[in-house]
Symmetry: C3
Subunit: 389 residues, 3 copies
């Protein structure tokens, strides 16, 4: 009854699922210092996802919109439920919202806190479900990417990163428990970095505009550490997702000393399905399908979010020739408010209407030009129609 | 019996068609001022095309040859036959030949008139069939792309474009009418443009060489308007396709005044299937398949075309420092003649042999260098073997 | 029982095979003058491969890792077994190891001799099996690519290349012969080249580092000729693959005379399947599948290789302003030793552990900087986990 396409052997031990994703957005910005309003093909993907021999599974997922690139290309061997090995390119196991599949998230764009978590990287991961499947763990050895970064390799330095995450759903086996949908976890990633590619390329607002970036000459020059306590709770039509992220990195502007920069972010998101369907970390499945002739309209959900990102003031210290970032183009803090209405027309089609307000706090003495992004709060309205099968 | 591959549910309400396109060309140019003769992989595509719930349909089509990019990525909701909504990236509803699927066109390359029509863009379109399916209409709201241009967004300016097209096949329901295969239409697109990306990147000959381009400093600076009366007529093995395109745009060379440039193009193409099969806007299906052992050879079609493009002389006016285009590298007019033989070896395989002559008219006072493309007429022979399933 | 996915018509005359390839590598280099150790997504591909009407077949294969590009996009018409026509983009029929499918080769990376053979090109090929299928021949007309080069067109010059290859497996029909698995052949490619794109972009070590490249100003300026005697012999679990490649090209540093450069390479590789399975040019199919619970582990193979590449000393002759290559960054010869263990976990999953040592010989008078790649031998350990279905 929906768009899923799977080719499988009779015993189900081998199968290939052909998947696709299209996100067609419209972005409206309210102010002259923001970019032009625009239609945008945000994501377009063709995906092969399969398994065979009841042991191996794989994903090959290229991104065809924006920067064309391979996102996921990995092989997983499920030796036992508690001991899986994954190799190739996949998401670094740190951020809770980062790890959630984009098409099923509450909002069109991930929160500003996700700027601080590493994205996709190449390496290997040991992972599995233990303690009656109430605890999931992952330990990964990776090239290491900076905050918000992705890479397919090769790495710029020989130092590798370790990322580890434990996530518990202690009441997952008790269907009657009020806390059945509760999950809490903690993740950490640590590694040494030594090149320009080792520090973040920039942090973006909900409207996807860069509000902070280092001076182009800044290089990573030491340890980077990311840590994140995280939790979600889903109960019937109500859901809440929360995470806190701390990210520190040693960086250097050449000929000046190494400085340690400590940034922090948080994200608190809630959703409520007006039409009563369950909401989960894997999304909402509408009870009815959009069909005006039959008088059915699908499901509707309202969502809200507050998130923030605080950049270490040390980056703005010193004269223009030695400071790590320019206070006239980079803000020291953003607080972002989001409100949205999601319309699930079918299992595969969804329309989102998101309103974001991003409030900037400037560094002491900052005097941004009138047309600088950070000269004024950013108010953005982002609509999306999404096909995901 | 052919290469089409479709995976469908039992009731046909949901299906995925896996499609592909390969075009392997050889281009021969007769003169020293033309580019080198070459084999060329013209197009290579993997395509997912599907529908589900008898309501939604989609296309995800990347181009893998030449500039790798996403071409189509859109979702269509067929609320009623008369009221469809399409969202994402798709072809701007203006040019008749532009809208025709490339693999089924009379010639290897679209006519010079198609230089004046916008290509693919991002936005939304309302479209449908009305009046007993004898009239098809489309109204689209789009970022706006220049003549011959394509975009996936983001837009360079906040102004959006509107494109609208009405196309009537008044005798489509009367199978016995001599005019059963007649279609006439009119299309228009209008929008404001304000950046370099808002004016055309260049116009090309049948041999795909740029014979006109603006000075690199020229920017769009006002309204762009494209309009096109268009028609086709298919009757048994005979077909004719005709369109006229007018395109005007306000452009500016910085520090000089805004000038309005008005260009015009036309295309008159005919085809005749020697082996008697019907020809249509959707192509030719051969009655037999190439099979030397069985003595069957498929279908053969001869095609002819005359087309032209006239660039406003105003673009060449003034001294070198202020004129909009260089008369020594850009021609003011091209008239293009094409002759071809198409061989349909099967429903999916086709070989084309096309001869093109492009005659240039130079701007007053032009003195192109001997090796300039426009110094001499361009004569090109383009063969193609095509797989399209 | 494995990951192969094919959609076929009832009579098998039409089918589409959906294939994929993922190679997840780790590269360790032992010395400071080598690049950083790294995880690397070496290859990631989605492939459509099909046939229809018992006559036509095709491949559409993009590479999604590293440089995103179309690798194969071609259509083959099997008029008779002895007379096939292939059109589009495919591998130039010269190098034995180049022509072998990468996922089934003995080693993770092809030998240094393969640097001297042309890779994928656009054009047409006549090929077939004759003399009771004991001889395979290919004659191709192509744009022409330099040593190790690939192209989708357009060509930089009008001269085309011819490549021809004959490969005999004289005892292929005698299953009881000890020489059943013997193949011997000879290939040649010749063409005129006239641009920078006509000479090699560089030669790489087993560790995929460039140890030889021309001065950036060097252009091809005359005939390029590649020739290669080649052979393999597979007998039960034992296999050997050998080829010799000679490559000459006329090149020029502008304002200096045309010089003919003659380079030579060789490759001798052997493999032995410890678990007794047959090894062939098309790889190894393990008798058992990795399944620790059942106590089965798949197949294991040990492999060895010695290969070399000798660059003509003439390229280093003359003062810095006129010589063709810099002796301080390019070596005149490399001898490469490889040892490996391959683990076939299933028909589709394979893990390789390869140790390579590349010994450089420098040009007379060379004085490379301490951090130059060629300042010291390159020792590399490359592991790979591969999914290929």
């Amino acid at each position: 009854a929906d768009s899923r396409v799977e080719i499988a052997s009779g015993d189900g031990a081998t199968s290939l699922r052909l998947r696709g994703l299209v996100q067609a957005d419209y972005r409206y910005y309210d102010a002259a210092n923001d970019p032009a309003d625009t239609f945008l093909l945000r994501r377009a993907r063709l995906i092969f996802e399969g398994k065979f021999n009841n042991l191996f599974s794989y994903v090959i997922q290229p991104e065809l919109a924006g920067t064309i690139q391979i996102l996921d290309a990995n092989l997983n061997a499920a030796i036992t439920p508690a001991f899986n090995v994954r190799l190739g390119k996949f998401k670094t196991p740190v951020g809770l919202e980062q790890l959630q599949s984009d098409p099923v998230a509450f909002f069109n764009e991930r929160s500003v806190a996700t700027n601080l978590t590493p994205n996709r990287d190449v390496g290997l991961a040991i992972h599995g479900d233990v303690l009656g499947k109430t605890v999931n763990y992952t330990v990964a050895l990776l090239n290491g990417v900076p905050d918000g970064g992705s890479s397919s390799g090769p790495d710029g330095d020989s130092d590798k990163s370790i990322a580890a995450r434990v996530f518990a759903t202690p009441f997952a086996n008790d269907k009657d428990s009020l806390l059945n949908g509760l999950g809490v976890g903690f993740a950490v990633s640590v590694g040494d970095y030594g090149t320009t590619a080792g520090r973040t390329g920039g942090y973006r607002t909900d409207g996807q505009q860069t509000f902070f970036s280092y001076d182009a000459s800044v290089v990573a020059a030491g340890q980077g550490l990311t840590w994140s306590p995280q939790a979600y709770f889903y109960q019937g039509p109500f859901g809440i997702l929360a995470e806190y992220v701390g990210s520190s990195i040693e960086v250097q502007r050449p000929t000046f000393g190494v400085r340690k920069v400590e940034n922090f972010g948080y994200n608190l998101s809630v959703g409520y399905v007006l039409t009563g369907e369950d909401t989960t970390y894997r999304g909402v499945t509408p009870k009815t399908v959009f069909n005006p002739a039959a008088g059915t309209w699908g499901a509707f959900e309202i969502v809200g979010r507050i998130s923030g990102l605080d950049v270490d003031d040390t980056v703005f210290a010193g004269p223009a020739g030695s400071r790590l970032a320019n206070p006239n183009t980079s803000a020291t803090q953003v607080t972002a408010y989001g409100l949205g209405l999601n319309w699930f027309l079918s299992r595969s089609v969804r329309a989102n209407f998101n309103l974001f307000q991003n409030k900037f706090e400037l560094a002491p003495g900052a005097a941004p030009a009138a047309d600088a992004l950070i000269a004024d709060d950013e108010t953005t309205f982002i609509t999306r129609v999404q096909l995901a099968f």
